[in-house]
């Protein structure tokens, strides 16, 4: 924040007005609050996706691609299937998640079976997803003469009237409920289930897990599949809730990459991820308002975000160190 203020001061903007704009513009009006929540929703899910993989010792940098294929899949269900309202939505969400899971399966499988570093495969899969979606949208899904697909029908949409009305017809949608539920699911999965026990064991020490009869390869693949599923839900939410259609894309949205920062800022815990995603959501959406009201270019917010990450990341390790020390003291006394 302070760094951001200095930068603004130097550039001749009013930092106070800018931050005021940032927070007022993201939180204080029902519409803006709704849009902030809408911005936060996919960040929670991508953050959780990255966090789950991290817990199993894997770095899923392929969330971006998993989201794209999920959008495609949800879109297909949305526009090609004819189902009754609620069911249509549920099927579309699930199919999106599954598509993400499949996209996550590939790096997981190659890692487990061939020992190929998942980071490279994920990076490559991102680009493949981008081109794949473009080729399908252009040749198969787009409306005649346009660059985008038709909108999904009401029956598949995650938007519900009462939510939109509550937030002054902003585009907040059921995705936020899904995201919160999934945070809880992640908590239960990792810390309450047998599978979670295995995943964490494999993440911390694959040799010991193997020794204990845990199938390490299967858990590596599974971790990427679950992670991909979460990423897929993020994509499904964006498509079925926020956008409603797909267009030919020239670049990544960056929500997947933001997920990495969200996960790590949130210390890879569900609650942490929710809070970090909210922070990102406020900053991202609020920065638009900062430009609108205080004329501060939104790029500057990136700088502020970077500074926040720096401090939080360095601090988190400080907090952890403190905790370890306390434990040891407790042990000795």
């Amino acid at each position: 924040m302070i760094i951001g203020s200095i930068a603004m001061q130097v550039a001749g903007y009013n930092p106070f007005a800018a931050y005021q704009a940032l927070f007022v513009g993201s939180l204080f009006q029902a519409f803006d609050l709704g849009e902030t929540i809408r911005t936060t929703t996919p960040l929670i899910l991508t953050g959780l996706a990255v966090a789950i993989a991290f817990r199993t010792g894997l770095f899923n940098i392929g969330v971006e691609g998993q989201m794209i294929v999920a959008q495609l899949a949800s879109l297909l269900v949305g526009i090609k299937l004819n189902l009754p309202p609620v069911l249509h939505m549920i099927v579309a969400v699930l199919v999106g998640g599954i598509a993400g899971a499949i996209w996550g399966f590939i790096p997981g499988f190659l890692k487990a079976v061939r020992g190929v570093n998942e980071v490279i495969i994920c990076i490559m899969m991102n680009f493949i997803a981008l081109y794949l979606s473009n080729v399908l949208v252009r040749n198969w899904l787009s409306e005649q003469g346009t660059d985008s697909t038709p909108k999904i029908p009401e029956s598949a949409s995650l938007r519900v009237d009462f939510l939109s009305e509550m937030f002054d017809s902003s585009r907040v949608h059921l995705g936020i409920i899904i995201a919160l539920i999934m945070a809880f699911v992640m908590y239960i999965l990792l810390w309450k289930t047998k599978r979670g026990y295995e995943l964490r064991a494999v993440g911390y020490n694959p040799s010991a897990a193997e020794y204990a009869g845990i199938n390490v390869k299967r858990n590596i693949i599974l971790s990427m599949v679950i992670s991909g599923f979460f990423a897929g839900l993020a994509g499904a939410g964006e498509l079925l809730g926020t956008q409603g259609y797909m267009a030919i894309q020239s670049a990544f949205t960056g929500i997947g990459f933001d997920g990495i920062a969200v996960a790590l800022l949130g210390a890879n815990t569900p609650i942490g991820v929710i809070l970090a995603a909210l922070l990102f959501g406020v900053l991202t959406y609020g920065s638009q308002n900062m430009e609108h009201v205080a004329q501060v270019p939104p790029e500057l917010i990136r700088v502020v975000v970077a500074a926040i990450i720096f401090f939080v990341a360095a601090n988190i390790s400080g907090i952890l160190l403190g905790a370890v020390k306390k434990k040891r003291r407790a042990k000795e006394s």
Binding site: A7, A11, F59, I61, I106, L110, R114, G115, V116, N117, V119, I120, I121, I123, M124, M125, F127, I128, Y131, L132, N134, V135, R138, N139, A251, F252, F257, I260, A261, L264, L265, P297, E299, L300, I301, R302, V303, V305, A306, A307, I309, F310, A313, A314, I316, S317, G318, L321
Partner: protein, 307 residues
Amino acid sequence: MLTNILQTTVLYSTPLILAAMGGLFSERSGVVNIGLEGLMTMGAFIAAITSLSTGNPWIGLIAAMIAGVILALPHAVAAITFKADQVVIGVAINFLALGLSVYLVKFMYDAGQTPTVQKKLEAVAIPGLSKIPILGPSIFQASPFTYIAIVVVILSYIILYKTTFGMRLRAVGEHPHAAETAGISVIAMRYTAVLISGALAAIGGACLSISIGSEFNQGTVAGQGFIALAALIFGKWNPFGALGAATFFGFAVALSLMGQLIGLSKYVPSEVLSMLPYVLTIIALASFVGRAVAPSALGKPFEKGSR
């Protein structure tokens, strides 16, 4: 046609090689560097604006290196001194570089990109060698950055495997406590490595703005830092390996472009051709390259006296 393919390969892989070499130093010392993208961005930006203001691209190149070092400094401080998670810090560096450079461009020029750099580091033919058929026009008639890249790879190899500094660097990345007991300052080695990393990756970025292209905008780097990171891992953290991987990638891009130029896009959508480099990389990794062993201490903050 072969010449064309090779020229594209060289053009495409040069910035990747430079950035991958940057990553090499940092990661060999045990510090993960996913901030390559940001370092390249900063390099591209500074190179463009200094070349513009001084009219001398060589000064631009040097300024980019310095900027890379300066940007790598917070990375080093956070990751080494404060033992912050190295991946997060890399992400932060990417945010910082892209945000700051685009912001500054707007601030300085009131535009989304810098003006066009007129005096650039364009291709230089090496007398004699450039006359060799096929190889000549592609390798010996290339941008100064290509020669720099080749020299950097060879130097990196020599430094890493033949000099004291390199041996210590590798030791720090593999077993920092062993290095410490041998009287080596792990912290100093890692700082040096991360700063070198910044300089080299920034040259890679500069290549994009003052040699291949002639301006800086927010799309100048567009993911190439991540490809460079992939090349580094693909090349098993070895200078020649990374060179090979980056070249392989450039070659695959060249093939996909060539595919379009010979009219393949009549049968195959051009998006599918564009996918080719990524698909080929996966196939190559899955079928014959296989397991790469990272430096053992990669990503682990060093704490004195712990084990």
